[in-house]
Symmetry: C2
Subunit: 160 residues, 2 copies
């Protein structure tokens, strides 16, 4: 019922009504996520990186030399997603993966010169993106207002 929203009006509907695409919040989230990632393309393609790779760089720019699991935790992904991602980034010369000293199970991920230098090229991306969105959305308070709800959703769905 709550995930079922008909023309922005929350009302009791039949079960089959709930199965309609326009009544589904999840489909909106799924679609908006795809489209926003797509909106990054014009800015990431010149750098030769993908959106998930950009996310890894964001994490490492905040704090270099992290083990794989910490990066994965930060991105809320599993290592079976992050490991191949990091391998591709290592191949691209953005980072190195070295055995941990204290815990030899760990692989410490360290930015290369190239990886660090990319921060300079990327620093305008957030503004570019918000400008490009503003172009098409008018109000932005509405977007900012979503953040607490999204955070609550993420917290609720991620606890296991």
């Amino acid at each position: 019922m709550y995930f079922c929203i008909v023309n922005d009006i929350n009302l009791q509907v039949t079960e089959y009504e709930q199965l309609k695409l326009n009544n589904q919040l999840c489909f909106r989230l799924y679609t908006v996520a795809r489209l926003t990632v797509g909106a990054y393309h014009p800015y990431l393609d010149p750098l030769g990186i993908t959106y998930p790779q950009y996310l890894v760089l964001l994490v490492l720019w905040e704090q270099d030399k992290q083990p794989v699991c910490d990066i994965a935790k930060r991105l809320m992904l599993d290592t079976n997603t992050v490991t191949p991602l990091l391998q591709r980034m290592e191949k691209a010369g953005l980072l190195t993966r070295t055995k941990g000293k204290t815990d030899t199970r760990q692989r410490i991920v360290t930015l290369t010169e190239k990886g660090m230098a990319m921060r300079e090229q990327a620093k305008h991306i957030p503004e570019c993106l918000s400008a490009s969105i503003m172009d098409k959305m008018g109000s932005v308070e509405e977007l900012a207002a979503m953040v607490p709800a999204l955070d609550k959703l993420i917290e609720g769905l991620s606890e296991r």
Copy 2:
């Protein structure tokens, strides 16, 4: 700036601050989409379908016998994503893809008995999902309130 939200307060920050993960709305959307799709697993696994396949069924349950391009338009996906999806669903016996009569370029997608019958098994999924979310979120008005903003975002990002 607008896509950059620090602790729910929209304020001017340095470029490097904008590059922090917690300041990025897009990362939240990307994450919440992954997690909500994951929330469907307990309900879709027993049916032997994936979330994108479920979306195709939603479209066909509303209106059977559609060409590939209409389904793709509805889901805001390209045919190069939808075609293999439909091929897998055909293999699973959920639908058939027959040549169009009036326009022989088209492939008309038609639900099989199995595909239609699945609607009955799926009709409780929306409630199940919202109940499972409610469990973890308390208020739901916050979620419903996101819909107009999400729709605006989708419209803005999808126009080409």
